[in-house]
């Protein structure tokens, strides 16, 4: 049941209506039932995996709270062991065969939808209990809802128990304002997904899948991939947050105008925020503060001086974290290259931060220089787009070849896509729809970046204005939207 389907909208409507009609003390149970129905509808075979993660982490949490030293490693081993088994077994087999010439047959494995998201959420819960930031949940069914809340389970945002739990289990009165806020956000999410992402996907798939013949179109392909990925992922998150809002549940935000970032570090503070903060709290800090990293730090301070020595372990931890981010994106070397690329840039930037400050002082570039600010945004956008080559290409070789061809054989044509693949029969119309969608998104982003809550501004407008905007968005979906091409409806649903 994809988000972009009539079935899903009907499912959400029934869930929301029932939620406010039943006795309030049963509301969280209602959500649990609908969450499991939703998950079962994705494929009954997937249910084993989420039940396993739920039972293991629930018991692990209680065990950790009792002060057991074995609780965390054993629970993590089981949770991540399951994730690794389904996601990385064939990658390992392929590499073993390649390295040693063996002929081990790849296995037919299921990749349960949303497995990374609920595994990460479970891990965060376990470590928070271990670090005594929260108390372990006593009720297994309440814990099951925390891991399975249905709009969130497929592609996040990755929730924290300390912020999400009370919101999930609270008793709520019907509130029309909240319902409307949620509906606006859902429509806005569908606009980003259907008008921008799914139209851009036509260009992305054509250029990246036929890169050997369509040489030189890489720049167009990667810019379209920027639009597709942002529209798809942030649009999906808008739908998730909109549904949660209708149910009175506030989820953590996952995006904050990422393409206005002034550095790669800043980009990761704005893009997939809940993954970034998860990695920071549960991987980056533990690695950086581990005994072996402490010894490495002391060695660095002794041999490289105080400042560099202090920064080196942090850079090394960063590279390790982004290596994991790369592996998380998929079991392939081009994903690992994507992670390392980000990690190395952030690590080197950290090492050279003082040098950058000195150079800026010498050049007389003040903190408030508008031109330098715009230069930083454009530089970051270029660096991010280079990373997308690794992310979207099928191999590191393909990514490098497309980068080279983007410069040495630069070509541009909006007719590069097959007219038959376009819903309108015309690549020009599809291209115009993408530009229109991106222009609307750009204006929206500028307003949000300047601190304007666009949704709130709209809500304060007279009814006819609100209706006209909503109508325009809905009509855009119908008139210039495209069919979803990605499996499961959304790209990140396959993680």
């Amino acid at each position: 049941m994809s988000f972009v389907s009539v079935e899903f909208l009907a499912f959400t409507a029934i869930c929301t209506a029932g939620y406010y009609l039943i006795p309030k003390r049963c509301q969280w149970v209602w959500l649990l039932i609908f969450s499991y129905i939703y998950y079962l509808a994705q494929g009954p075979q997937y249910i084993f995996f989420i039940l396993f993660a739920t039972v293991v982490t629930y018991l692990g949490g209680l065990w950790a709270e009792n002060g057991s030293k074995a609780a965390v490693p054993v629970t993590l081993l089981l949770d991540f062991g399951m994730l690794a088994a389904v996601k990385y077994t064939n990658f390992m087999i392929g590499n073993l065969n390649g390295l040693f010439g063996t002929e081990i047959r790849e296995m037919k494995l299921l990749l349960p939808l949303g497995i990374s998201f609920y595994t990460f959420q479970a891990t965060g819960y376990l470590l928070d209990v271990h670090w005594k930031r929260i108390r372990a949940e006593r009720n297994p069914f309440r814990f099951a809802l925390f891991l399975s809340f249905f709009p969130q389970i497929l592609q996040g945002p990755i929730g924290r128990y300390s912020r999400l739990a009370d919101s999930l289990y609270a008793e709520r009165e019907f509130d029309m304002d909240r319902i409307l806020r949620g509906m606006y956000r859902i429509v806005w999410g569908f606009f980003k997904k259907i008008v921008i992402a799914d139209n851009a996907a036509l260009y992305v798939n054509t250029i990246f899948d036929q890169y050997a013949t369509l040489r030189g179109y890489g720049l167009l392909g990667v810019l379209m991939y920027s639009a597709q990925l942002y529209g798809d992922f942030s649009g999906g998150i808008d739908v998730v947050c909109g549904i949660a809002e209708m149910l009175g549940i506030t989820l953590d935000e996952n995006f904050r105008q990422p393409f206005f970032a002034v550095s790669i570090t800043d980009f990761w503070h704005r893009w997939h925020i809940t993954l970034g903060t998860w990695m920071k709290d549960y991987l980056f800090y533990p690695i950086s503060l581990s005994g072996w990293m402490g010894r490495f730090g002391k060695w660095c301070k002794k041999h490289m001086g105080k400042s560099v020595g202090r920064t080196m372990p942090i850079c090394a931890a960063n590279v390790i974290v982004f290596l994991v981010v790369g592996v998380w994106h998929g079991p392939a070397w081009h994903n690992i290259a994507y992670g390392l690329y980000n990690g190395v840039i952030i690590g080197v930037s950290g090492l050279l931060a003082k040098n950058y400050r000195d150079i800026r002082k010498r050049l007389g570039i003040g903190k408030d220089s508008r031109w330098f600010f715009i230069f930083q945004i454009l530089r970051t956008f270029a660096l991010v787009n280079i990373s997308w080559y690794f992310d979207r290409a099928g191999s590191v070789g393909q990514a490098l070849m497309m980068m080279r061809d983007s410069i040495l054989r630069f070509s541009f044509s909006i007719n590069v896509v097959d007219a038959g693949a376009c819903w309108s029969g015309s690549p020009a119309v599809t291209f115009a729809a993408i530009i229109f969608g991106c222009a609307v998104l750009f204006l929206h982003s500028i307003m949000e970046e300047r601190g304007t809550d666009v949704g709130e501004v709209l809500r304060q407008k007279p009814l006819p204005v609100r209706f006209a905007v909503l109508l325009l968005l809905v009509l855009s979906l119908v008139l210039i939207g495209s069919e979803p091409l990605s499996q499961g409806g959304f790209i990140y649903a396959n993680f």
Partner: protein, 74 residues
């Protein structure tokens, strides 16, 4: 306290550590700065700071950091 503020100013010079109580909430200290501070505090005060201590409440102000150091010194 003066020694601690000196450490902070050496790592991230652009902040008023005497008065600011939102070093984390306002993004003045990022994860690089936090870990640099941890590294210096561990050396200067002979303490061990674990991941469990890396919460905004401990890093939002110089005073909070000082209290954490005193607590860890036991």
């Amino acid at each position: 306290m003066d020694e601690l503020i000196e450490i902070l100013e050496d790592i991230q010079p652009d902040a008023d550590y005497e008065t600011c109580t939102t070093l984390i909430d306002d993004g003045i200290l990022d994860s690089f700065a936090i870990l640099s501070i941890v590294s210096e505090l561990e050396d200067a005060y002979d303490i061990r700071i674990t991941p469990a201590e890396i919460i905004p409440e401990n890093f939002n102000s110089a005073k909070a950091l000082y209290e954490m150091v005193q607590r860890l010194q036991g």
